[in-house]
């Protein structure tokens, strides 16, 4: 749910451009901190987990317009630095299929990686507390999704003034085309124009999101349980058992 499904040209340039700058900076720092051999060795796994995230995102749960991300689970398997690169790649591929705009890739990478990185640390924390896989994964996923959804809402709210500008400026812009419509004059004292309704947006996103967080938490916990039965080594939990 934390994925921003905004098309290109909706968010203000300063916002998406800073998203790219921050994502590139964070990505650069995290990659510098990762050993080159480790990166080369785990790159095929990164590609595979990113592909699973892409496939997960393409399975739409129609009634609530929700899709699973599997970012938290990928974060647990890949670790915090590689999940950042994985989310960057996932967002590029998703943007190529119209799943969010190309200009929003930077912002989407930041919000999705919050989910992956936070999910990784929350899962490790809850594992130490409960020593039980299902609640640790469920709570880790739920909290990570909650935070990243609020990060997404924060990003959306930053562009509010820009949406209002878009709504109320018919025909304005860098390039103007007046093929069919005369520009209307606005006089002082006219009825105030309707503002962008961010509360309405949140009233739709949060309840649907809540269902989605629970659903994804359950699915991630069930996936983890299945994998723990067959390949426990993948979760790298043995060394943490006292």
């Amino acid at each position: 749910m934390s994925h921003i499904h905004f098309p290109d040209g909706v968010l203000p340039v300063w916002l998406w451009a800073s998203g790219f700058v921050v994502a590139i900076l964070v990505g650069g720092i995290l990659l510098r901190l990762t050993k080159k051999e480790e990166l080369t060795r785990r790159l095929p796994l990164l590609g595979m987990m990113a592909a699973i995230m892409v496939l997960g995102a393409s399975v739409e749960i129609v009634p609530i317009a929700y899709h699973v991300n599997l970012t938290v689970f990928s974060g647990i398997l890949l670790g915090p630095s590689l999940i950042f690169l994985a989310t960057f790649v996932v967002n590029v591929i998703l943007a190529l299929f119209g799943h969010g705009g190309i200009t929003v890739i930077g912002l989407n990478t930041l919000t999705l990686s919050i989910e992956g990185i936070l999910g990784y640390y929350c899962f490790r924390f809850f594992w130490r507390v409960f020593r039980r896989l299902t609640p640790a994964i469920f709570l880790g996923t739920f909290i990570a999704l909650l935070f990243s959804t609020f990060a997404m809402i924060g990003v959306v709210s930053l562009g509010t003034s820009h949406y209002q500008e878009l709504i109320h400026q018919e025909g304005k812009g860098i390039f103007e085309f007046h093929l069919s419509k005369e520009k209307e004059e606005h006089h002082p004292g006219e009825a105030p124009e309707e503002k962008v309704n961010l509360r309405r947006f949140m009233a739709i996103v949060l309840p649907l999101g809540f269902i989605g967080w629970i659903l994804e938490g359950v699915i991630t916990a069930l996936i983890a349980r299945y994998i723990y039965r067959l390949r426990p080594d993948l979760l790298r939990l043995e060394k943490e058992v006292p």
């Binding site: 909706v10 987990m49 990113a50 699973i52 317009a65 119209g98 739709i204 699915i219 069930l222 996936i223």
Partner: protein, 208 residues
Amino acid sequence: MIQLSFLDYSAVEGKSFLHRLSPMLKIIGMLVVLFVIVTVRSLPGLFLLYVILLTLFFIARVPKKIFSLTLYPLIFAFLFIFLSGFQIFFILLIFLKVLCGSTGVVLLLASTPYPSIFSVLGRVLPSTFVMALFLTYRSVFILLTVLEETQHALYLRGGIQWKHPWRSLINISNGFGHLIIQGIDASEKMYESMTLRGFKGKIHYRGE
């Protein structure tokens, strides 16, 4: 995502003028489309761009089956109807921006084989990133094959039944779990064969 292989088939087998055009030119063209989408805020301007892209789509003889892919992002654009408070100008503006972007990208992918796109990207972006992108794209095809087999197996074990939501949820999760394990096995084999072929952290594309 299932149509990905069909998209790839169209990119490799197509013979139109758009297919023969250099990948670099097509990527520059896509950047121009993106620039127009970001800067133009008038309905006639965006409508003109959409008509041009549609004309290119049909002149390039891209299979009509792929056209539905260009409409897919509209699902997400519906949220804007609520965000705008039902302002018709804004809704049309968003829908046109979405359609122009998706048609441009589908045109690029349906007329350019993906190794050619990655080869161009490799000249301007960091090699680690392009390699990760290439491996992900490749892995999607591997996983789609596994997914097809998994779907058959799920179907034989009850599949998805709305009458039994919990059992369905377990089946879906086991399906994803199976996909992940198979995917990780495939990635380990892929790494071994890449190392055997002399992989040292960089993939070289044909023509380099």
